[in-house]
């Protein structure tokens, strides 16, 4: 539909490279989950899907990564996190991957943020219907090239990690976080506060769920970490940064993070997904 004009060019100037060749990037992923040292069950769930599709000479990564931390009596917790996770993954496969693979282009694809939000809202209805006593956090990242689109409810977290810094991207929907925002508590105090686990927003607890969305471009050499509170409440940011920068692979990083959380007591289930952008 558009004319290819290399043959039609009138001028004889040769194409002088004016921009350096971009190095092709690779995405490497690690993931691990552990029930910790104290709990009897693992109520966390995780999902990773790393796809790549060729686009001319480039490779376009299209990935989906989800962590969820369930809560509720007896078994409802792990059922809730599993159900929510599978519902979200299913929705995104159906609304993004399938049409893209069918049409071969992004034409006609719905806006990414809309689809991610809907996926979690749908999971919310399902959990409410099927598991009225259960609930779960859910943080998912959809990766397109080196852009991450994150949708999030609860107090699981996404972090952006680079050589020298670690930054939390998502906001915890917890009571103590609200108190921290108001200057009523310090983050240190929050770690031992009796109500540190109280959430004001979770998947499967009420209608009208509001989903937070974030957008983060991942520079070369950076990593995106998704984790549940079993990790961040037991391991400090500095420790996480050190482990990320000092390990041979994302899988190694995930194992070491879990070991570190267990070293610090392992009081909760621990779940981590690490996505690394390598130049």
């Amino acid at each position: 539909m558009f004319k290819r004009f290399f043959g039609k060019k009138r001028s004889t100037s040769t194409l002088v490279p004016i921009v350096e060749e971009k190095e092709s990037l690779t995405i490497i992923v690690g993931a691990a989950t552990d029930k910790g040292l104290v709990r009897d069950y693992n109520q966390d769930a995780l999902f990773t899907l790393s796809a790549q599709v060729s686009q001319g000479q480039d490779l376009l990564p299209i990935g989906l990564y989800i962590v969820a931390d369930g809560m509720g009596g007896e078994q409802d917790g792990d059922r809730a996190s599993s159900l929510a996770l599978r519902t979200v993954a299913n929705w995104i496969l159906h609304e993004i991957y399938e049409p893209f693979l069918t049409l071969g282009t992004a034409a006609g694809l719905r806006p990414i943020n809309e689809v991610l939000t809907e996926a979690i809202v749908t999971a919310n209805s399902k959990v409410q219907e099927q598991l009225p006593h259960g609930g779960t956090t859910l943080t998912c990242a959809f990766l397109l090239g080196t852009n991450a689109f994150i949708a999030h409810v609860g107090d699981s977290r996404a972090y952006l990690i680079s050589r020298n810094s670690i930054r939390q991207l998502t906001k915890d929907h917890s009571l103590v976080n609200r108190l921290i925002e108001l200057g009523q508590l310090t983050p240190e105090e929050a770690k031992t506060h009796p109500q540190r686990n109280v959430l004001y927003r979770a998947v499967g607890r009420s209608g009208n769920l509001e989903v937070d969305t974030y957008l983060q471009s991942l520079p070369t050499g950076s990593s995106l970490l998704l984790c549940c509170d079993g990790l961040w409440s037991a391991v400090t940011d500095d420790e996480i940064l050190a482990i990320v920068n000092d390990s041979a692979s994302p899988q190694m990083i995930c194992r070491r993070l879990i070991a570190q959380a267990n070293d610090h007591g392992g009081e909760d289930n621990i779940t981590v997904v690490l996505i690394q952008v390598k130049g």
Partner: protein, 652 residues
């Protein structure tokens, strides 16, 4: 409202009050209280209607509240038992018409019972649930005054003040005479113990400081404020993030509420305890002042001004910030200088190194001294200029409706080169890496060598290109009237991606953080992933968009004008509207953003300067003719060109 399963292991989050566990009608407790039926159940307790058989000949009805003392540990059980005893005794010592009377208490096995008077009526929770909308403010004020009376009684109780602690609509009843009765002094919470594992949902009525330590009487006042907020807005605090009442201004949700009442409630809901009412007496006085028929609404103690909307940015009426602007007698802002061309200007001025360049429909490109507006030179083309000039090294480059791209020397406007296209040029050229990129109405995007104008390549699409290209990291992005947004490799002109929208794209793209922002005549602002061309989000305005978006990095906002007359600011990562400001005419101009302000023109004849953070008007200038060009900002001065052919300069 039953919940999960009783765990015999003792760390109970959710207590099961399944049907088999409840007492059946006919059961008699203590050989005296005959259960008639269940009247309610909550997370911690069940309430039955019962008859006290001690009074054989009379029908003495009472309420029996049943709670579980299910702690696993015997010591913990005893501890809870003692706490309960204490609470029950405090309750029993209270004597006030609006406080539920306690008649008896006892335990049977793991269950603990409290016998109280039976109230025929509904709780405020039931009342608000059954109501279609918020409750009338007269009723709310009346109930609040009654509650204050009870709190005055409780807080002044001797020997120790009694704190209600759990004041919320489900704990306040209205009896058959329309009088308030407070029930449930949180006594069931004695058995709650520490919560392990994650709990979902917060109380919503508890003030922030209460999570740090012991409750104090002023916490009850916050809870009353929260209760009033709920009754007046029908927004349940337990379903919202905690301590966010200020994000739901009462009068915005329920305009029937008076300013005075809103101020009183928000005063009670201040985050910091010392900023609230100091006592229930004070709260009551403020409420009484509202019900007086006088036209003056007394401000609550502490001189708090009526609350105003904070989030959601409803722009204020004209508020002139202090500045170095001077004003004419009519109050219109005065420019530092103005310059008249001979015809309309739709092109946007460009200011570089103290010189302002602008094209006009009078065929000329003008160069003016940016400080004082004095004329430097002009260059005549063969037709009108609506393209905005671009400066590169010693050249100023622009397109004209005479189909040519021109490059002139900055100093004196001497022609250096021209490059032909096959139709009018409305798009504005951009230079990257010594190459000029510009679109034309001839359906092509051109890549010209900036030094000599020689065409390196051209890329043809299916309709006019009036959008101006944007170059970022080796890719050039632009829109076309063919309803698509394109991304090309700048070296090879290879198409990286094409994103289709529903109507022509006249807007020019802006790239930020891996996303391309662009507007379309289909009324939408789009955020498109720069690498793959997928739409990440889109938001709809109420009119076509020809304006080009601008981004504030520091605030994380993207701004755009729409033909619906509004300027919008969106959170760039989610596309959620943060504020909007209204003008009186369609907006074709694009916003110009500095650290603190957004400048934009409107066809209503004004140049607006809005606060970048919240959209409030800082100042505006009336040019007496539409402004479709984008303002320029350089060396602390703002420049704008209007349809009347004038260029204005301001020092804001």
């Amino acid at each position: 409202m039953a919940a999960g399963g009783v765990t015999r292991r003792g760390t109970t989050h959710l207590i099961d009050m399944g049907a088999e566990v409840m007492l059946t009608p006919g059961t008699v407790l203590q050989n005296r209280y005959e259960i008639l039926g269940v009247v309610g159940s909550g997370g911690m307790a069940i309430v039955y209607k019962a008859r006290d058989r001690r009074f054989e000949k009379a029908s003495r009805i009472c309420a029996v509240k049943e709670m579980f003392n299910a702690a696993a540990d015997a010591r913990l059980r005893d501890l809870y038992r003692q706490q309960f005893d204490r609470e029950a005794n405090v309750l029993a010592s209270l004597n006030h018409p609006a406080v539920l009377k306690v008649f008896d208490y006892f335990s049977e096995g793991e269950r603990v019972y409290l016998v109280t008077e039976f109230i025929e009526g509904k709780s405020l929770e039931q009342i608000i649930n059954e109501s279609n909308g918020p409750i009338e403010q007269e009723k709310v004020i009346d109930w609040a005054i009654q509650i204050c009376d009870v709190l005055i009684y409780l807080h002044n109780h001797k020997p120790n003040p009694v704190i209600f602690r759990d004041l919320k609509p489900s704990n306040v009843m209205l009896n058959e005479f329309g009088q308030i009765v407070m029930i449930d002094f949180g006594i069931a919470k004695v058995f709650q113990g520490e919560q392990r594992g994650t709990m979902i949902g917060t109380e919503g009525y508890t003030p922030p400081e209460q999570y740090r330590g012991a409750a104090e009487p002023r916490g009850d006042l916050y809870a009353l404020g929260a209760t009033m907020h709920y009754l007046l807005t029908k927004h349940n605090p337990q379903e919202e993030p905690p301590f966010t009442f200020h994000e739901r201004p009462i009068r915005q949700i329920n305009p029937q509420v008076s300013e005075g009442l809103e101020a009183v409630v928000m005063h009670a809901l201040e985050y910091e305890i010392d900023k609230r009412f100091a006592s229930a007496e004070e709260f009551k006085q403020a409420l009484l002042a509202l019900s007086r028929p006088s036209s003056l609404i007394a401000a609550p103690d502490g001189g708090v001004a009526p609350a105003r909307a904070q989030a959601g940015g409803v722009p204020a009426t004209v508020a002139f910030a202090t500045s170095t602007l001077s004003f004419s007698e009519t109050g219109n802002v005065l420019p530092v200088w103005e310059f008249a061309c001979e015809d309309e200007i739709t092109s946007s001025p460009t200011v570089v190194d103290g010189v302002l360049y602008v094209g006009s429909y009078d065929h000329n490109l003008y160069a003016l001294n940016a400080k004082n507006g004095s004329f430097l030179w002009k260059y005549p083309t063969e037709d009108g200029i609506s393209s905005s000039p671009c400066v590169w090294e010693h050249l100023v480059i622009f397109g004209s409706e005479d189909r040519m791209i021109y490059a002139l020397t900055k100093e004196n406007g001497r022609i250096v080169w021209t490059s032909p296209t096959r139709d009018r040029v409305h798009s504005s050229p951009r230079v990257a890496l010594a190459h000029v990129f510009v679109g034309s109405d001839d359906h092509c995007l051109y890549n010209l060598d900036a030094r000599n104008g020689r065409q390196v390549w051209k890329f043809e699409v299916e309709d006019r290109i009036r959008s101006s290209p944007c170059i970022h990291e080796g890719i050039v992005y632009f829109g076309s009237d063919d309803a698509s947004v394109y991304a090309l490799d700048i070296q090879t002109a290879k198409l990286k991606w094409k994103c289709s929208v529903n109507r022509p794209v006249l807007s020019s793209p802006t790239v930020h953080e891996g996303m391309v922002f662009i507007g379309s005549m289909d009324w939408n602002l789009y955020a498109i992933d720069a690498q793959a061309g997928w739409v990440v989000w889109k938001t709809r305005t109420k009119g076509r968009i020809v304006s080009s978006p601008a981004v504030s990095e520091s605030l994380g906002l993207v701004y755009i004008g729409s033909q619906d007359g509004h300027v919008y600011a969106y959170d760039y990562s989610r596309g959620r509207e943060v504020w909007r400001a209204e003008t009186k005419g369609p907006i074709g101009s694009s916003p110009r953003v500095t650290a603190e302000a957004v400048y934009i023109g409107s066809s209503d004849g004004h140049l607006y300067c809005l606060d970048a953070r919240n959209g409030e008007l800082r100042w505006k200038f009336y040019a007496n003719s539409g402004i479709v060009s984008t303002p320029a900002f350089a060396d602390n001065m703002v420049y704008v060109a209007a349809r009347n052919g004038r260029v204005y300069a301001f020092l804001p």
